[in-house]
Amino acid sequence: MVKITVDGKELEVEEHLTVLEACLKNGIFIPHLCFLKTRPHPHASCRLCFVSIEGYDRPVTSCTEKVRDGMVVRTDTPEVRSLQKSAFKLLMSLHPCHAKICPTEKPCLLMRIAKHLGVGLNPKPLEYIDRGLPDLVDFGPLYYVPNRCVLCAKCIHTCRSINQKPLLTFARRGIMTMVAYFDGGDGDADVCSNCKACVEICPVAALLPKSAFPSSVEK
């Protein structure tokens, strides 16, 4: 066990934890999207979990920092908040929020983060970016909604660790990056139909089982 101080509060935590895990375990919320406990190495792509740590000249992502004895952490400095708000606005510029038709359980993780940061669910002052991607992409037994996806890669990791097969993967690059489904034959579609772990892990309902869709949408 090591002792760390977060926002003036002394915590005693297990030493193998990251700062993010230690805070979440002790009821201190740090915005995060791509963190997944089962992942051996943090993905660190969402850039939301910034914290200030004494002795560092700039905010660092808390999912990549292991706790050390005597560490002094602040989760709400102006620099941290500025980076978090900026990253959140960037994500929202590709995620037009349609709360009424969005099937996530409310409040979704994005709503919680927005409330925590005190910002709206719009990208203001940035504008929405239309990448010209389709509303729905057919993934065999699933539908994928590219304009909801925040590319946290939780689905990809979960699928691989459960099925030992790379059914889901990243495709394209840069601003056009999206998740893709790869059916290599050999009963892959059956494996996928019987699993749905990705659907459950997705924080933004970007992956949906086809069965959940009203027949009017399914064509």
């Binding site: 792509s45 980076l83 900026s86 940035l126 590319l151 990243f170 394209r172 690059r173 840069g174």
Partner: protein, 293 residues
């Protein structure tokens, strides 16, 4: 390399400065008289490199900026000409050694357009993993695009600055951490150019196509010369009542061909910004009748 092996590391370290010993090889391109690869001792000033070794700016133009360190380096203005070239000084100025690329720009370069060009490159290079680089560089590019097209808004200037700073700090890898450098440095050292684009819809370097117009100076145009008419790809040039030539602004695509072909002794084609400065000359009516027929 052979001389380092022959004479030893101490000899090599005796060249250059204390913190950046040795030499560096730069690839100098752009508007200099003698572009090419140059090996210099660390600590040589930019002025020595550009004006002595590379012969200064070509075509008797004035020096405007030098972009150092490849696409993610920074654009430095003339106040940095006496900066020594070494790791620390360049980083302090907002540029970097990077790949040793150096692009020298003369007065005809628009710094907003230059920033847009480099962002276009880095945005395409982004792998798409982390939020700041993937989406942030796209926003920077979109805003710069907007400004060079004359559709920039006042708030764009503050968004550019804060977003660039956040991308630099928040990105996962070195690409995103350095990608905003051209924006940050050009905003810092050439802010007035951004302001001219946004507030006056004017491109001071007469580079951004949407913000310029070509016209023909009737006092200089020669009667009967038809060179520009032949060069125009969209038939925007017509003959005026006085048998001189004029440009139909509605048809002109601003390719600059007429300016390039107009004989030197006349030199009648002019470029202005904003486009409203170009005098409007009506097409003579008989031309219209011909068109209709």
């Amino acid at each position: 390399m052979p001389s380092i092996v022959n004479r030893g590391a101490d000899w090599f370290r005796s060249i250059g400065t204390e913190k950046s010993p040795g030499t560096a090889i730069f690839s100098i391109v752009g508007n200099v008289k003698f572009p090419g690869l140059v090996e210099i001792a660390m600590g040589t000033t930019l002025r020595t490199l550009i004006f002595d070794i590379c012969g200064g700016i070509a075509n008797k133009k004035a020096f405007k900026a030098v972009q150092i360190g490849g696409p993610s380096g920074g654009c430095l203005s003339d106040v940095f000409l006496d900066t020594p070239i070494d790791f620390d000084s360049l980083t302090q100025a907002g540029a970097m050694m990077g790949s040793g690329g150096m692009v020298v720009m003369d007065e005809d370069s628009c710094m907003v357009d230059v920033a847009r060009y480099f962002l276009d490159f880095t945005q395409k290079e982004s792998c798409g993993k982390c939020t700041f680089c993937r989406i942030g560089t796209k926003h920077l590019l979109d805003i710069l695009d907007r400004i060079t097209k004359g559709e920039g808004r006042e708030e764009d200037l503050t968004i550019l600055e804060s977003l660039a700073k956040d991308i630099k700090q928040g990105s996962l890898c070195g690409l995103g951490k350095t990608a905003p450098n051209p924006v940050i440095t050009s905003l810092k050292y050439f802010f007035d150019e951004y302001v001219a684009h946004v507030r006056e819809k004017r491109c001071p370097a007469l580079k951004c196509r949407a913000l310029i117009a070509y016209y023909i100076d009737l006092d200089r145009c020669a009667r009967g010369c038809e060179v520009c008419v032949g060069s125009c790809p969209v038939e925007a040039i017509f003959t005026t009542k006085g048998r001189k030539k004029a440009i139909d602004q509605a048809k002109c695509v601003k390719c600059g061909e007429c300016m390039a072909v107009c004989p030197k002794e006349y030199d009648a084609v002019r470029k202005v910004s904003p486009p409203s400065l170009a005098p409007i000359i009506e097409r003579p009516p008989e031309e219209k009748i011909k068109e209709g027929a």
